[in-house]
């Protein structure tokens, strides 16, 4: 990143995996609102399903997900039963309408569950909502929990995309985040996956972790590239110890400063691009023949809760504690606490705790931001037209400043990210986002 851009960089920028962000969700969205939206789903409307598994074997100190360390498998078994009840509740409402085009299992650690239980969840989706062989099945995996033949079994269940949490290969960094996993372990997982014919393997890596230096991270990137995953997501670690108790285990003095963070991000970008990966959005990379890279090329890239995706379904149904559904402008999030979630499902009720009904203006801003993040250019005329004059002026002046800094370029009503400025896309999105603009500290970010 150019040094003149560093002032534009704010690690507190929203991730924009939804718009408005989940921070704006309120408890005014009810199970009935959600059910009404399910009633409007048409026979062949594509549905994208997300299943949240909130269990892990061990705590990773950097993690910001809704998860808990669970030592009794019985409780996970109960959770699987609850999930199936919840899936059945939605199925009863859909009555065969809607077409499942993808199922993604995330966590936590989905492979904390026994493969039989993962199979049972799929069977339940098939029975209650419908699941055909053309659906894309993907799952996040903790390589440390993979046992013999797990990959073969998951691939026999129909999973075609595996996401491995790699984070960093340096042992010092791994110790500092409480996630020890050797290169040999990851290498063995990758070779098992390749042997079962998996051609869509994703790695997550993290920069901004304690004790990371340009040297250690370069070595991690060497190893990542040598294992040749089909996709790589490079996320910046957000240290929020006041909100995430587990992050207090991390020694804040060992964290890279802002300058090193941006150098680490730039290093990963440079290394992956040189290795032949295509940049997808601002933090994903894919081999040119991968479905995600093709979607990027063909302008079909979208953003959802999992990040950048080639999934074209407009409706997303989330199952499990804290999972979020999105149908026709309505965000509906389940109870976060597992026991509360389970209690409501077992009473036969949709476990919706909060959410948000998107206004027309929010939908327009959401589209503009999504285009910017997915295509690196966006038409802002609709946003300006639907903003109060003072707001529109503020937005234009922020964008003008970003143009003066060389981050973007105006072309008529189009705002385009300049070459190499992709890492700042979220900062440009903030300029278009009325919520971000109204935050007092936004001026410090630009």
């Amino acid at each position: 990143m150019k040094s003149s851009w560093r002032k534009c960089f704010d690690q507190r920028a929203p991730r924009y995996t939804s718009y408005p962000s989940a921070l704006h969700f309120e408890n005014t969205v009810t199970p009935k609102d959600f059910a009404d939206k399910l009633d409007d789903v048409n026979l062949y409307d594509p549905l994208s399903l997300y299943v949240h598994v909130p269990f892990c074997r061990q705590l990773c100190w950097y993690c910001g997900c809704n998860m808990r360390v669970e030592n009794y498998y019985e409780r996970a078994r109960d959770y699987v039963e609850t999930l199936c009840l919840e899936i059945a509740l939605v199925g009863q409402r859909l009555k065969g309408r809607g077409k499942t085009v993808s199922v993604h299992m995330g966590g936590g650690t989905p492979n904390y569950l026994l493969r039989e239980d993962i199979g049972e969840i799929l069977t339940c989706i098939e029975r209650e909502i419908g699941l055909t062989d053309s659906a894309n099945l993907s799952i996040e995996l903790d390589p440390r929990l993979l046992r013999d033949c797990d990959i073969d079994h998951l691939s026999a269940l129909g999973f075609r995309r595996f996401c491995l949490g790699v984070q960093d290969f340096d042992i010092g960094v791994q110790q500092a985040i409480n996630r020890l996993q050797s290169y040999e372990l990851i290498e063995a997982c990758v070779s098992d996956m390749r042997a079962s014919g998996i051609d869509d393997l994703a790695f997550d890596i993290l920069y901004g972790l304690p004790h990371q230096s340009l040297e250690t991270f370069d070595d991690t990137l060497d190893k990542v590239i040598s294992l040749a995953p089909d996709r790589v997501s490079v996320f910046g670690y957000a240290h929020l110890p006041e909100r995430m108790a587990r992050q207090r285990m991390i020694d804040a003095t060992a964290l890279p400063d802002e300058q090193l963070r941006s150098q680490l991000a730039a290093l990963s970008d440079e290394r992956l691009i040189t290795a032949g990966y295509v940049r997808v959005g601002f933090d994903h990379y894919a081999k040119p023949d991968n479905a995600l890279a093709r979607a990027r090329l063909e302008g079909r890239l979208k953003r959802n809760f999992q990040g950048f995706t080639d999934d074209a379904a407009a409706s997303q149904l989330g199952f499990g504690a804290s999972a979020v559904s999105f149908i026709d402008g309505l965000y509906a999030q389940n109870e976060r606490a597992i026991d509360k979630y389970a209690r409501r499902v077992r009473q036969g009720e949709a476990p919706i705790a909060r959410g948000l009904r998107r206004t027309k203006r929010e939908t327009i801003v959401a589209t503009a931001i999504s285009d910017l993040l997915c295509k690196m250019s966006t038409n802002v005329s609709a946003v300006l037209r639907h903003s109060p004059p003072a707001d529109a002026i503020k937005m234009c002046s922020l964008l003008d400043e970003l143009e003066a800094d060389g981050v973007i370029q105006w072309r008529g009503d189009m705002v385009e990210m300049t070459d190499g400025a992709h890492a700042l896309a979220r900062m440009v999105a903030m300029a278009m986002d009325p919520y971000a603009r109204s935050q007092a500290d936004f001026s410090a970010a630009v």
């Binding site: 065969g96 077409k99 055909t132 062989d133 053309s134």
Partner: protein
């Protein structure tokens, strides 16, 4: 399996049937409600074609102003979803109709599962005939199933809760259209479509469909299963 667009609508040259009196499906459904005068009129404007296996009778998104009556063979109806996937939305058997209303953009593609025979009625001519014989179109399609019935069937099948119910109801549905009972009382239901199409239609995985068929056989509901038919126990 699917034909490329350039060759898709490649029907064999039309020929006029010697007489509608010889039509195999007439008594069962098609044209059965037409009076003699109406039939004579309709016959004049009708053409019959063979559609070769794998070729399309009508293409999703293309204009169509012909009413098609399936006389022999079978078709599958498919539709592209917004994410580019293809969904099987129904199957046509002898006596069924598609293209019930003229349209700028057909909602389905109809593709022959085997070499099939189809009667074509131009909506323009049917409307001209209607001046003499009001309601002729309605009577023409009165006994057959149209694409709208197929959509109804599909939602009913998809709404069934177990794989077994969905598969059994599907076989029952096909049997009603093209099932045959021989003198021994064995009811054979032809399944001209690939298993993958059935699975897709029923919202099931192929493996589940195979397992369910095997389990129906084990329970005695099905006597025999072959690639292109099932024999039911009466």
């Amino acid at each position: 399996m699917s034909a490329s667009p350039s060759q898709a609508k490649n029907c064999i040259a039309p020929h006029r049937p010697t007489s509608c009196d010889l039509c195999a499906v007439r008594e069962r459904s098609i044209c059965a409600d037409l009076g003699a005068r109406e039939l004579a009129q309709v016959e004049k404007t009708m053409a019959r074609r063979t559609v070769v296996k794998g070729h399309a009778l009508m293409e999703e998104g293309e204009s169509n102003d012909t009413l098609y009556v399936l006389v022999q063979g079978s078709f599958r109806l498919t539709k592209h979803l917004e994410d580019g996937r293809r969904q099987i939305t129904g199957f046509l058997f002898p006596g069924d109709f598609v293209g019930v209303r003229p349209t700028e953009a057909s909602a389905y593609t109809a593709e022959a599962l085997e070499d099939s025979m189809v009667c074509h009625f131009s909506h323009k001519f049917l409307e001209a005939i209607a001046e003499d014989c009001p309601g002729v179109k309605d009577r023409l399609i009165a006994r057959g199933q149209t694409e709208y019935h197929k959509a109804q069937d599909h939602i009913v099948l998809l709404g069934k809760k177990s794989a077994e119910e969905r598969v059994a109801s599907f076989i029952e549905m096909v049997a009603k259209s093209i099932g045959e009972t021989d003198e021994d009382g064995a009811a054979t239901t032809p399944l001209p479509m690939p298993r993958q199409d059935i699975a897709d239609y029923l919202g099931l995985r192929l493996e589940t469909l195979s397992r369910t068929l095997a389990s129906l056989k084990k329970k005695g509901a099905i006597r025999d299963i072959s690639r292109h038919s099932v024999v039911l126990v009466e």
